[in-house]
Amino acid sequence: MIGIVNYGAGNIFSLTAALDRVGIGYGMVNEASDLDLYDRIIIPGVGHAGAAMEKLVQSGLSSYIASLEKPVLGICVGMQLLTSFSEEGNADLLKIVPLKTLHFGGRVTEKVPHMGWNSIQIQNGSTLFQGIEDNAYFYFVHSYFIEYEADFTSAVCRYGVDFSAAIQKNNFYGVQFHPEKSGKDGEQLLLNFSRI
């Protein structure tokens, strides 16, 4: 069973709908003791990273997440929370993955937000991408990105700059795109996570 961190940062209906479609069981993590109820955890999140971090701190969950040893998947802003810092709100984040979340604005000439389907290049065969072809398309909607770093980047995407479409450090995984909106490949990724 997957526990979904329910800290009020964006709607989770699309995520639970996707889990329902592929037949993965889930429940909500509202307080720290709920973390023990599940064998893996998803941190969703949309909107403002700084505001999302504040909500996570207020929920009392932030200090427990870094010490988790079960698989954890951050999606979109939920992934950005795993990094050290975001330029969005100049916010200190969970510091689980020593990378920064940066603004596209001023760094690329492309339109911001980066919105739509973009292809990703899978690095060193992360288990998260099993059964998914290299250069597969996923759906992105974001104005901030996690810098590329060979040690932690498990999939690269290019939008003016090379950035991390997916990251991994030990049991912590993150994807910048929305698997719940990324067709069959997105559903496959969620299935893969449920089997790690």
Partner: protein
């Protein structure tokens, strides 16, 4: 590379699709959820639902529709029509909509764009605008093109972006329904001005029209309704045509 998007638009009234639909495999051509699922299977990149009779009374029907689509369809979708305040948008986003589009309400009360962007983030806010050429000027029209304003379209779109719009859906009323092609000239002008994604709408009649609007106007996405609904253009064929022409598609 970021792919150009193909977006079928479904007009919905009282929870049912209104424009004629001519798919062979449909059990119920009036069911927007089944239609949406079919489009997602065919390779549509995104969907737009336009609730053309959105009123307070049938708001619940719309929410049920959004939930049903979010449950069954694995691509993003936008819902528009009758969204006048943050509360309306909040309910739809929590029901699983990825974006909401506002048109007349934003023109009448531009501050709405600021409010929506602050409440949900700009990526949720699509500004839909209907434009028509009047005495050499592109002017914003309301109520499906029936009501003319004196607002110049370029000025309005620039203001919308500054206020926090995350995307623009621009319909050329002069081209809409003609099947003579998109207004590539004006769309190119808008595309060069804005810094947010632009969806072209109005005039699609052939596959070549889609090639043209991506090549000549550089827009990020193209939207159409009847050519898809009547099966005149099949999305897999269209994607192949675009690919052959060198347009990046999924």
């Amino acid at each position: 590379m970021l792919a150009k998007r193909i977006i079928p638009c479904l007009d919905v009234k009282d929870g049912r699709t209104v424009k004629g639909v001519n798919f062979v495999d449909l059990r119920d051509a009036g069911d927007p959820v089944e239609l949406a699922w079919q489009y997602s299977q065919q390779g549509a990149d995104e969907l737009v639902f336009l609730d053309i009779t959105a009123t307070h009374e049938n708001r619940k029907t719309t929410i049920d529709l959004v939930k049903a689509v979010a449950r069954q369809v694995n691509i993003p979708f936008t819902i528009g029509g009758g969204i006048n305040e943050v509360k309306d948008a909040d309910i739809l986003l929590n029901a699983g909509a990825d974006k909401i589009s506002i048109n007349s309400a934003a023109v009448r009360n531009p501050k709405l764009i600021d409010d929506f962007a602050r409440a949900f983030g700009r990526q949720f806010v699509v500004i839909a605008a209907d434009t028509r050429l009047v005495d050499g000027k592109q002017l914003i029209h309301l109520r499906g093109g029936r009501e003319r304003t004196e607002i110049e379209t370029l000025n309005w779109l620039q203001e919308a972006e500054e206020r926090g719009a995350g995307e623009i859906l621009l319909t050329s009323m002069d081209h809409d329904g003609t099947k003579d092609g998109f207004d590539t000239t004006f769309l190119a002008k808008v595309n060069a001005m804005v810094h947010i994604p632009l969806i072209a709408s109005g005039g699609a009649g052939s596959q070549q029209h889609f090639v043209d609007v991506f090549e000549k106007a550089g827009v990020d996405a193209a939207l159409a309704a009847s050519v898809f609904h009547y099966g005149e253009i099949l999305i897999p064929d269209l994607k192949q045509t675009l690919r052959t022409a060198g347009v990046v598609v999924r």
